[in-house]
């Protein structure tokens, strides 16, 4: 795994928060922690899972870049799998206003 990108958008407020984490820049312990969260999330293939009836729910886009493949998963707060919540929580804590740079 090389990079993890995260974008939170939507919600009543509609502001965008995002982060892009290069694993090579992380300390070994932090890198292992992120790899563990990604593995536990079960996000192995691209998917877009958005509720049609929910309005103003927040939307989470997670892009996991491996050496030879990319997984892009999009959920909203009604469809976010329980197993992926710790990963999203971790990424939220690192996100700043705006789209990924």
């Amino acid at each position: 795994m090389r990079r993890v990108s995260f974008t939170q958008s939507g919600g009543f407020v509609g502001v965008v928060h995002s982060c892009r984490i290069e694993l090579a820049t992380l300390a070994a312990e932090e890198r292992a922690s992120l790899e563990q969260l990604v593995a536990a999330s079960g996000l192995e293939a691209s998917c877009e899972c958005l509720s049609e009836s929910c309005r103003d729910g927040r939307i989470y886009e997670i892009v996991i870049e491996h050496e030879t493949s990319v997984v892009r998963a999009v959920f909203d707060e009604t469809s976010l799998p329980v197993a992926a919540r710790p990963l999203v929580s971790f990424l939220k804590s690192r996100a700043t206003p705006g789209l990924p740079r």
């Binding site: 509720s51 049609e52 939307i59 707060e77 469809s79 329980v82």
Partner: protein
């Protein structure tokens, strides 16, 4: 139906299926029914049924779902892809496995209700016992289990909890606005009960924290308490509550598809009626105050142009020099600037500056600023209260605009309704307002709109 870990079964009872089509019992958690049109319906039983959990964990749910697919029917397009949840359902960690199975059933049901919501939204409505204003306020207790514990019914005395009273009062004000101004009886125009959950929480993997959001889930409102840093309680602001309830009105009317331009219009209508409910309510309070003082109200407008506020969520944000609201309908893009926690308001004020990316379902909360400004310009150009001529035009548009409408469609329909029902002056005001934000109504399109 509800969001998160909430169950669906209570809103789609088994009896719904009997009048719709054949039903098959699949598992203790899932019920499946075929519709005459070849669609399908799925509802769940309460996830708290422990017996159901055990049976599902032995694999009966997955096997039965596979059985359906083997018959050549595609019962549902899962909201979470089966590969993902089914893999998690086989995880070595029993906690993950159990929650994945629950999510599999719930998310499946949530997604299956999607088409139902579009075509038969009344199935999700809880009818009022009196067929008039009826409110139920629940306390979610800081969790995402909706609706939670019932804490106040219609007519009950005030609670000690301000969030409960705010949800009750503000949903009542919204009901009254639609009833008195447009003659509409609740969201479905048939007396639907207004259900609100306060103190909604969000799970972060380790527990729950106060939800920093408010949403409409297709059948009820949910309000978080905010983080206390940027946002306070979401029930505090009347325009926020009216915004969420207007999403409910739309689900029974235009049901604008929540993506791209039609999604931005969906957000736009929610903002328009959110702000109008607040302005109407404030004007009523001002009039009552003047009567108390013995001053005549005959020759006074309820609000002057300079007094009008077009801000959304001003009471929601924690005051700071870098923020004054969530949105500014009159001056999109200026509600917050260089805020350390929010950044800068991304709303454009003109069509040429519209957001073209994929975030926020194609910018539904971003591009709504363009139409919001058009509404304010039209309302300010007309010589009455915003909820009168302009509000009526926009309300009638919300009822008839197609679900996949574009901004050009909205401009065309509002202009036609203005001309047909309110005269040439109103039509010109509306047309000029759309033109000012870069959305033109061409002569040919006007003719089509008239037809």
């Amino acid at each position: 139906m509800s969001c998160g870990n909430a169950r669906v079964g209570g809103i789609l009872p088994r009896k719904c299926f009997s009048g719709i089509g054949r039903q098959e019992r699949l598992s203790p958690l899932l019920f499946y029914g075929k519709t005459p049109a070849g669609g399908c319906l799925v509802a769940t039983l309460p996830a708290s049924e422990k017996g159901a959990f055990r049976r599902v964990e032995r694999g009966s749910l997955v096997k039965r779902r596979s059985g359906i697919e083997a018959e050549g029917r595609r019962p549902i397009a899962c909201i979470i892809p089966p590969f993902l949840l089914e893999r998690m359902a086989e995880a070595g960690d029993s906690a993950i496995r159990r929650r994945a199975v629950v999510d599999l059933a719930q998310a499946t049901a949530v997604h299956a209700v999607r088409d139902l919501v579009r075509t038969m939204p009344s199935l999700l409505a809880t009818p009022s016992p009196s067929c008039c204003r009826d409110r139920l306020i629940y306390d979610a207790g800081g969790s995402d289990n909706l609706p939670g514990r019932l804490v106040r019914r219609e007519g009950d005395r005030r609670s000690r909890d301000p969030a409960v009273n705010e949800a009750y009062d503000h949903s009542g004000a919204t009901y009254d606005f639609y009833s008195e101004v447009f003659g509409r009886n609740s969201l479905d125009d048939a007396g639907m009960t207004l259900i609100s959950s306060v103190h909604a929480g969000e799970a972060d993997g380790e527990g729950y924290q106060p939800m920093n959001n408010a949403f409409w889930n297709g059948s009820q409102m949910a309000y978080g308490d905010g983080d206390g840093l940027v946002f306070g309680r979401f029930t505090q602001a009347l325009d926020v509550v009216a915004h969420e309830l207007t999403h409910g009105v739309q689900s029974f009317t235009s049901n604008l598809v929540y993506r791209g331009e039609s999604g931005a219009l969906n957000e736009h209508f929610a903002d328009v009626f959110g702000v109008l409910v607040r302005q109407w309510s404030q004007a009523g309070a001002a009039k009552r105050g003047r009567r108390k003082e013995g001053t005549s109200t005959k020759d006074r407008k309820a609000t002057s142009r300079s007094e009008r506020s077009w801000l959304i969520g001003a009471e929601l944000v924690v005051p700071a020099a870098t923020r004054r609201a969530v949105r500014d309908m009159q001056h999109p893009g200026t509600a917050f600037v260089n805020d350390p926690l929010l950044g800068t308001d991304p709303q454009p004020a003109h069509w040429k500056d519209r957001y073209r990316g994929t975030a926020d379902r194609g910018g539904v909360h971003i591009n709504s600023g363009i139409a919001n400004r058009a509404f304010v310009l039209a309302a300010e150009a007309l010589d009455d209260e915003p909820w009168q001529t302009a509000g009526r035009i926009w309300y009638d548009t919300m009822l008839e605009i197609p679900s996949r409408a574009s901004f050009a469609d909205a401009a065309r329909v509002t202009t036609r309704i203005a001309r047909d029902d309110h005269g040439a002056v109103a039509a010109e005001a509306v047309r000029e307002a759309w033109k000012a934000v870069g959305v033109k109504v061409s002569a040919a399109k006007r003719a089509a709109g008239a037809a």
